[in-house]
Symmetry: C2
Subunit: 453 residues, 2 copies
């Protein structure tokens, strides 16, 4: 067999022990918060039928799906010669694809298992997704999403609980963040109020640029996009509005007179009122009219969370959708959810040095190995300490002391136990503190007390 | 968009909240034991380069690899017209495949990251693998493996620690099992001793059939396979051997006179002696000469664990390999590892009803929702109980009581809290025990005490 220099596909990653320890710290923190709010974990297969995935992420998304070659003699079962167009040929020889996000599989899951589920259904899901994006710094072809959704209830209390979840997670991870909130109905209401319903996205983009390019340039750009002078004129109170969140909402009340606009403002106000009455521990919630994410299926509240101390994109986001399961034939299932971006959270925490020291520590104590009867004596101590719940290693070979100590050092093991003839005869353990260098002859119970946190 | 009736690919599974709770119980138990022995978790990508995977699992394995279609215009980059043979065409349009097991990616990882690792390197890995097997009962196309390996040490203490790990895991899961052990060198020694080195597998298979078809038939079968009369004659002491483990080992000592045979027997005896001196809590370790698993890369000890109370295949297995990383160019790295089959362990525990009740419980208490001020009062209690670490839900809509109670019932939530005007005025919570039906008016602290385990 030829020797291959090993590597992994572009845009994928191995995670070392240290990286995994840090990643698990993030995942466990998030999971713990989800569980406290009564969300249950589910998993779906990595592979979905292409019929489930195609057409759900736009044309660009279809291209970014990883498709799995049919097993066996795929050419014979292609139903004739392959189409010379690769996109079309792909469908002849591939009927499965890798999960692109957790949202579409979740919708499929809810529809497929609707008779077994208790609604409102509160689920979370932490699994990798795959996208054939061009790999670049901070963008991977395999990455984890952590999604939490409640489906089958249109109560705004769900939005409030998601905000509390964001608050709890970032308090636990000690990351300073701002949660921006907007509402799809408000965006629709603005566009409607100025008589430019079809320009909702252009208007949102324009509002977003206000700080950077100024009012005049925004107005010019809107006209370029095809908005009438009258529409642009009607938009001015929104573009010029000032003051507190309450004052802005009041300005919008007077402009967004349509039913959908008023409904959106009602929703925003209800959420703000709940949050104000209940209080938050760590995060700030801010109205942000420029927020327009995922316009495809969102129908109500939209959320986005940004880290305050690091320049990085959104680290959490989501919103309300009224008809996600409709694509699979189940109507009238309103839901709301958010997704935590584990990779970006990891980057933020690394940059700000926010991982607790204890996360990295794997083994608490290493028993040096002197072989023979000393080894057997050590093995019994090792066993007793493991039974007490400690993470304990014994060096597997009775090799040079220097090598064994280097092992402890490299693995940052804080204690080393030395058991030779003296220790055996006295039924003791010599415990060396690898940080202070201190050394003492102790009983097993004393060692347990010393190495406990 | 046409409505698709949703389904998932053959041989794959969705895991419901209940299934996930049970699966996590198994994974967490196993992880906890691995950690106590100083093993660290790593992860590798779902996709590996096909050059990493091909040729590592035999011809049959190559066919069972899920191959990923190259992105973009794969036909143009196929380097000419497609070969009419599907197996060959696949290599023109696919350069990545899904992980088939965790062993080859582990070997690749060790070679690729050798300069960053501390040896002996102790890692565990819990991730799904994919095989394009024909789906059937108990055999899936996506399933999890839980592998634990130590590489870079040929000490038999590592085998002993793996046996202790098996003991700890099955004691914690409360499954009665037998651990069968054999040694690849002993198998080679037997074949060598009787002058039929190339028939090692035939001999192992024959020994395995002894109980079922009897000595005469076994001998006839061996001759059919091409063993000489002399070889079969020489094998008789092994086939006929009786008595305790020690007596069997003694019989083999007298037959297996080659260096490799004696070495294998030494290894077995050393392991037995360690295990005897240290003692095990739950499992039995038995020499089983018929055990021959994974002959391709195993070179020393081989393990297999079977459940005693359920008819099912092996639920854990592994062994020593002296040159796993050699396929990627790193020689002289002996290692030993075992793999826990989470799916089969799940099936055993389900059949024997071994999951603790507490595993299933997600939410500890549900607050009924009466809307308005009652709702706000409840939300504050909910928040206080979550801060104490309890898993708490509030029903999101102020809907009919019956519907809310049904929700608690279906989700098996053991306590429901009712907060109306009376409770608000008295700063109390009415707590209903859903099992006994008892109801009492309590303070928040009293509720916390009641619902704590």
């Amino acid at each position: 067999m030829a020797v291959t220099k090993p590597s992994i596909p572009k845009g994928t990653r191995d995670f070392s022990a240290v990286e995994m320890a840090r990643r698990n710290y993030i995942f466990d923190t998030i999971k713990g918060v989800f569980a406290k709010y009564g969300f249950s974990q589910i998993e779906t297969p990595a592979m979905e039928n292409l019929s489930t995935l195609l057409g759900k992420y736009g044309d660009e998304g279809d291209k970014l799906l990883f498709k799995i070659l049919n097993s066996g003699d795929f050419l014979s079962s292609a139903g004739g010669p392959l189409n010379p167009n690769s996109d079309k040929a792909a469908l002849q020889i591939s009927e499965k694809g890798l999960r692109y996000d957790l949202t579409v599989p979740f919708a499929r899951f809810v529809v497929q298992h609707q008779t077994e589920l208790t609604f409102p259904f509160k689920r979370f899901q932490i699994q990798p997704v795959w996208r054939a994006d061009r790999p670049q710094k901070g963008r991977y072809r395999e990455f984890y999403q952590c999604d939490v959704d409640i489906i089958g209830s249109d109560s705004l209390l769900n939005e409030v609980e998601l905000i509390q979840i964001v608050d709890d997670v970032y308090e636990a991870l000690n990351i300073n963040v701002a949660l921006k909130i907007n509402n799809r109905k408000v965006l629709a209401g603005i566009a409607e109020a100025i008589g430019a319903a079809e320009h909702m996205v252009d208007i949102t983009v324009a509002i977003d640029k206000l700080d950077k390019i100024g009012l005049e340039n925004v107005n010019a750009e809107l006209k370029e996009k095809g908005l009438s002078d009258e529409s642009v004129e009607k938009l001015q109170p929104i573009l010029k509005m000032q003051g507190s969140q309450e004052e802005k909402l009041a300005t919008m009340r007077s402009v967004l007179t349509s039913e959908v606009g008023q409904k959106g403002l009602d929703e925003l106000e209800t959420i703000f009122n709940y949050v104000k009455a209940l209080g938050l521990k760590k995060i700030k919630v801010e109205l942000d009219l420029t927020l327009a994410r995922g316009l495809n299926y969102y129908t109500g509240a939209i959320f986005e969370v940004k880290a305050l101390d690091v320049e990085i994109g959104s680290i959490t986001g989501g919103g309300r959708y009224d008809d996600l399961t409709g694509i699979f034939g189940l109507k009238g299932m309103s839901g709301v959810g958010i997704s935590f971006g584990a990779d970006r959270i990891y980057d933020v925490m690394t940059q700000l040095n926010l991982f607790p020291e204890s996360v990295l520590e794997q083994t608490r104590i290493l028993f040096a190995n002197f072989g023979g009867e000393d080894e057997m004596y050590s093995l019994k101590q090792v066993r007793a300490l493991r039974a007490k719940g400690f993470k304990v290693e014994i060096f597997p070979d009775a090799t040079k002391m220097k090598k064994q100590m280097q092992y402890a050092d490299k693995k940052q093991i804080p204690f080393v136990a030395l058991c030779g003839e003296t220790e055996r005869n006295e039924n003791k353990i010599t415990l060396k503190n690898m940080v202070t260098g201190e050394q003492a002859s102790l009983t097993l119970e004393e060692v347990a007390a010393q190495i406990a946190r």
